[in-house]
């Protein structure tokens, strides 16, 4: 490998490993590793209201940085994860949670897919049962009487 190629390779590796950190690269880490862990989990679960399809952990928008700062502050003040999520929902709406609360309003969201699958399976089972029953009724085996009639026709030909 020529030195140029090696340099290029190193540059690539550095770029690739550095990019995922961009959102919060210059921000403090929390001293307590346990709090830092809870912080990352929360930051991965909150959606940036401005950029829509990024978590606040990934996003470089100013509002995300404010939200991260507030999450850290609330963690330091001893709030539970649930309380912190509620505080964010109270300000920015249900939209900020990637996993919305399970409540009557969101039942269709959480249960809809399972209901659809159940209905689908139900329909398939019904159709199968019905065709099976029908094929049993019209059994290909002829009764004695039918066989006699069939033989009669064959002879007459």
């Amino acid at each position: 490998m020529t030195p140029e190629w090696r340099r290029l390779l190193i540059l690539l590796v550095v770029l690739i490993t550095v990019f995922p950190l961009n959102g919060q690269a210059r921000e403090e880490r929390m001293d307590d590793p346990e709090l830092q862990q809870r912080f990352s989990d929360l930051a991965d679960e909150l959606r940036c209201p401005k950029c829509q399809n990024e978590t606040i952990a990934e996003s470089g928008a100013p509002i995300s940085s404010d939200m991260r700062e507030r999450v850290r502050q609330l963690l330091r003040e001893g709030y539970t994860d649930e309380e912190i999520l509620e505080a964010m929902v109270a300000r920015f709406g249900d939209f900020v949670r990637y996993r919305p609360e399970f409540e009557p309003r969101t039942w269709i969201l959480w249960l809809g897919p399972f209901v659809a699958i159940a209905v689908g399976i139900g329909v398939v089972v019904m159709i199968t049962l019905r065709t099976r029953r029908r094929t049993k009724d019209e059994s290909p085996v002829l009764s004695d009487e039918e066989r006699q009639r069939a033989e009669q026709w064959l002879r007459d030909d």
């Binding site: 401005k50 829509q52 300000r91 709406g93 209905v119 329909v123």
Partner: protein, 177 residues
Amino acid sequence: MNRLWLFLPLALAITLGMVLYFGLGQDPSKLDSALVGESVPDFQLPLLQTPEQQVGSEVFSGKVQLLNVWGTWCAACRVEHAQLNKLAEQGVPIVGLNYKDERPAALEWLEQRGNPYSTVIYDPEGSLGFDLGVYGAPETYLIDTEGVVRHRHVGVVDQEVWESDFKPLYEEYRDDS
């Protein structure tokens, strides 16, 4: 009768299709505010023009007002400003929230473009903005006499938005009081 059940998946698919189809027409950047129907959160912040004077949520009691979140860094606020001046001329009280801005720039802005605000709250850290759930400027809120948020609009308030979204509510709450 039993056969009708076979149409259930079709009916479900059509319903789902319709829901998704109407969803397409909505602007995903407009979030429903969690704050409509709630009181303006508590705060203590200085005024823009007179920094020694602190105000709190009492500025929102007594009359129906607009709260407009703006900053000199916000390009769309520039577009909106003429409309705000016009509303102020018509007698609509507007409280300004100068959001994440610098005092000299903000003062100069009001000097040059006119000041439609009855009061301008200075919030350089964006703390009240955060509690309001502001995620971009401009944002405009309609606040009733009790200090309760009745409507929120993210983006520029132009004549059309004013007439369709704000004016009916503004008149309704003003006449109620």
